[in-house]
Symmetry: C2
Subunit: 113 residues, 2 copies
DNA sequence: ACAAGATACCTTGTATCGCAAGGTATCTTT
DNA sequence: AAAGATACCTTGCGATACAAGGTATCTTGT
């Protein structure tokens, strides 16, 4: 999957996943990797960013099959941010599709061929 | 408009615009800026990339209202690449929407709340 | 008991790309 | 001659995805 296209969407995808159920980074990677292809080197800095913005909070849970898991939980601010991101995403997609359709943003004047 | 979201889509948008009519960088900026918000500092390196990939060719046209314009024209390879990008874009959007809908890529197992 | 593998955390360095800021040259208008 | 629009371009910065590598825990096979 094209790396550049993902820029700016992974935060939203993670927040969306967390809006359904709390999760931990390692699990998020394996779940999101099915369709989105996200790697560990991406998720850990990303989760830190989300936490710095206070969009998620964390708590530790001991696991019966390995080391403790750091669960992330969406905060109220995170829920609001997710809605904002959704809106921006939809607007962005609409604008790109508009250009692809040859909408008003396409160059039409004074050109040849 | 969110900077990160544009990454990887501007090439496609420019190729799409050129698929309708030849154009030059300065004009592409003013046309695409209406909806997409693209700046000169972005377009010139971008056009060079497209040319390096042989997706566009260029020709000079003298203007009656300023310096000569460097027109860009989509090549056959460019047309094929545009179709590839379109496909990848659609697949990508579909996958993101899937995650937003809480699709199979969302974390559901073993979480709390 | 010990090695191997899975689970789970993390950091460092690299590449890419969009953009603000700045620079140059041409042509028209005042 | 000066000012402004047109049109080209480069440099340096910030953001982010990722490969590669590292550490610790827990289970399983021998």
């Amino acid at each position: 999957m094209k790396t550049q296209l993902k820029k700016g969407t992974l935060d939203m995808c993670v927040l969306a996943a967390l809006s359904q159920a709390d999760s931990y980074a390692y699990e998020l990677v394996s779940k999101l990797s099915q369709g989105m292809d996200i790697s560990e080197g991406t998720i850990y800095p990303l989760m830190r960013r989300l936490q710095n913005e206070s969009w998620v909070s964390t708590y530790l849970v001991e696991s019966s099959s390995g080391p403790s898991r750091k669960y992330y939980k969406l905060t109220e601010a995170g829920r609001r941010e997710l809605e904002t991101m959704r809106r921006e995403w939809q607007e962005f997609v609409a604008e790109v599709e508009n250009v692809l359709r040859g909408g008003p943003a396409a160059a039409t004047e004074g050109a040849q061929q």
